[in-house]
């Protein structure tokens, strides 16, 4: 134990043995750590905003369907919609983490205004209930229809196609299960823009009561779920499976696989690559410094070995020293990263519209303790790894030859 204390003490003192070189090494590690930390915070901010946008614009934390309904074509889909929705919602409401529930009924319809018509894919929703949770719909004109039971909100592309604005009438025309044409006259209360051009050019929402009357049915196609937090989904899904085995709970990232999941995977891969480059810079910085340090200490290594230190013990001392450099540099980098985030980046980073998205974003850097620990670990491990080759080489020099470097 005492020996370990002495070894650690020696390693820590060696960190500042050559102040200028240590400052160089610490700067290299600190810059890397700062870049990595802020980058991870930026990444987290971007992902969280993207996730919040996805959840609160459209999907909720997830949705429940009748088992076997989703993802398949059905000749008589209405038979697989959720029956007695009030009863099911009462049971769902009792499950862990559930904050709110939103019954939905999808419908394809032709929207007609004057001589203009657009084919749209709509949803009947509970306007009053959804108004509180789905706040990311980003109305560019007007707002939701919670105060108008005959209201409709349109995607920006749909509104442009119809040439309508808030207050204009729109006819929703659809066919029921017996192919009979049914229609409802509604009033535009809002025009929204989710950021997804494809979605905005065909989406509309009407009160679920109107959708049920048009189809006609008393069932709902799905129930969107608002939980107290996104981390609560696995528990909720397990509870659904246990309490309501006829239903299938599908998380938002699965529902929005094409956009959200693929975008997240794509961004993650990009971030991993950039993270690798940053770590490589840290590695090379440490490698360079340790190589010079070890060359300078060749005679000392010879002395230690002559006096009975094994190669492994000497290597351990240098690894500890490099790890201490990595840890200290990493800590300095974290502080710098925090200062950067609290100062110049406090107002976020303005981002242009992403591919397929029509509006720009402002990303706030979200620093996280887990990221900080990961950065510290990566810097420490990278620094320790950076010293392995030079130390291995140095301990392979014959002792007598090493002593001649004095």
């Amino acid at each position: 134990m005492k020996r370990a204390v002495v070894l650690v003490r020696l390693s820590l003192r060696n960190v500042f043995r050559n102040t200028r070189r240590s400052v160089y090494a610490l700067t290299a590690v600190a810059m890397g750590a700062m870049g990595l930390f802020v980058f991870m915070g930026f990444n987290r901010g971007l992902m969280n905003q993207y996730r919040a946008n996805t959840i609160r614009a459209r999907w909720g934390h997830g949705q429940v369907y009748v088992q076997g309904y989703r993802g398949k074509a059905h000749a008589r889909p209405w038979e697989m919609w959720i029956g007695r929705p009030e009863h099911v919602m009462a049971r769902l409401r009792a499950l862990p983490g559930v904050v709110d529930l939103f019954p939905r009924l999808g419908l394809s319809a032709m929207l007609v205004s004057g001589e203009q018509s657009v084919v749209g894919q709509g949803e009947g929703v509970d306007g009053i209930a959804e108004a509180g949770f789905f706040d990311q719909l980003n109305y560019v004109e007007g707002g939701d229809f919670k105060d108008r039971p005959d209201g409709i909100v349109l995607g920006q592309g749909v509104a442009q196609g119809l040439g309508v604005h808030v207050g204009d009438d729109v006819q929703v025309v659809t066919r029921d299960r017996k192919a009979a044409v049914r229609s409802a006259k509604v009033v535009v209360t809002g025009v929204f823009q989710t950021g997804s051009q494809e979605f905005d050019s065909r989406a509309f929402r009407v009160p679920i009561v109107i959708a049920q009357r048009l189809l006609p049915t008393d069932r709902v196609e799905s129930i969107a779920i608002a939980l107290s937090g996104v981390d609560g989904w696995p528990d909720f899904a397990r509870a659904v499976k246990a309490a309501l085995p006829d239903l299938e709970a599908v998380p938002f990232d699965e529902l929005d696989r094409v956009y959200y999941r693929h975008a997240v995977d794509w961004l993650d891969a990009q971030f991993s690559f950039i993270r690798g480059i940053i770590l490589l810079v840290v590695f090379l910085g440490i490698f360079n410094v340790i190589t010079m340090t070890v060359m300078e200490r060749t005679a000392e290594i010879g002395t230690l070995r002559a006096c009975g230190d094994s190669r492994r013990e000497i290597a351990l001392g240098h690894v500890l020293e490099a790890a201490a450099l990595g840890l200290l540099g990493g800590a300095i980098g974290l502080i710098a990263g925090w200062a950067l985030t609290a100062g110049p980046l406090q107002g976020g980073v303005a981002m242009p519209p992403a591919p397929g998205i029509t509006r720009s974003f402002r990303i706030f850097v979200e620093l996280d303790v887990r990221d900080a620990l990961q950065v510290l670990s990566l810097c420490t491990v990278t620094a320790a790894a950076g010293c392995l080759l030079p130390v291995w080489r140095a301990t392979r020099i014959p002792i007598a030859e090493a002593l001649r470097h004095a």
Binding site: K2, V6, R9, E300, A306, L403
Partner: protein
């Protein structure tokens, strides 16, 4: 009692284009408690001889027996253990660890012996006392004179109760008065503690302190 029995030892440095025969058929005995000097001009093989005695190099030919056991062909690990337990080194350039104090430099090499804390502290202080450097125990090498550093180096070897101390030109980096003082210290430790010293030098005033002098010339014992 013989500590070292060296028989027919040869050593050749192999360089890229040509080799250098450092030792040729050297026979040498070192007795326990002896203060033995190896003398000779530069390039005569003094350092190589000490390296072989210290198990830092392995002879190409010949045998080396240490306290009765053949040691010239031991494995790296066995030689490391033997050096750690039984052989002390004193270097021309002191080779102290600059970031450790005098006390810590001496203590560092005792740690491997797993000596209990209180005893270790006592032994370190005794070793520093024995070489007359106790007042500088908390100083780092860069704030000490050359003579003081060499005394710390001697204390470092002394604290381990090594069977032999091998000193390669221990006074070469010191001024004359300091060099003689260090030599006096080695002689006193040899007399009072029975520590075996083998040292190399080409300074005749230092040689005068030795019990016996081995002369090396071109890698051969010449006297």
């Amino acid at each position: 009692m013989t500590l070292y029995e060296v028989r027919g030892v040869s050593y050749r440095y192999n360089h890229e284009r040509h080799g250098v025969q450092a030792l040729s058929g050297v026979d040498l005995d070192v007795r326990k408690g002896e203060l033995l000097a190896i003398s000779g001009p530069s390039g005569s093989g003094k350092t190589t001889m000490l390296n072989i005695l210290g198990l830092l190099e392995q002879p190409r030919e010949g045998t080396v027996r240490f306290d009765g056991a053949e040691v010239s062909q031991l494995s790296e690990r066995e030689r490391t253990l033997l050096r750690r337990e039984r052989i002390g080194f004193i270097f021309q350039t002191f080779n102290l660890i600059p970031v450790l104090t005098a006390y810590e430099n001496v203590e560092y090499f005792l740690m491997k012996r797993k000596v209990p804390g209180a005893e270790a502290r006592q032994r370190v202080l005794q070793a520093l006392e024995a070489v007359g450097i106790i007042a500088q125990a908390d100083q780092r090498p860069n704030s000490m004179s050359g003579g003081q550093r060499q005394r710390v180096a001697i204390a470092r070897a002394l604290v381990r109760d090594a069977d032999v101390m091998l000193a390669d030109e221990p006074t070469a980096a010191l001024d004359q008065a300091t060099g003689l003082a260090v030599m006096d210290l080695m002689k006193r430790l040899n007399r009072e503690r029975g520590v075996t010293f083998v040292f190399s030098t080409h300074d005749p005033r230092i040689l005068a302190a030795a019990d016996r002098v081995i002369q090396l010339t071109d890698g051969r014992v010449s006297g």
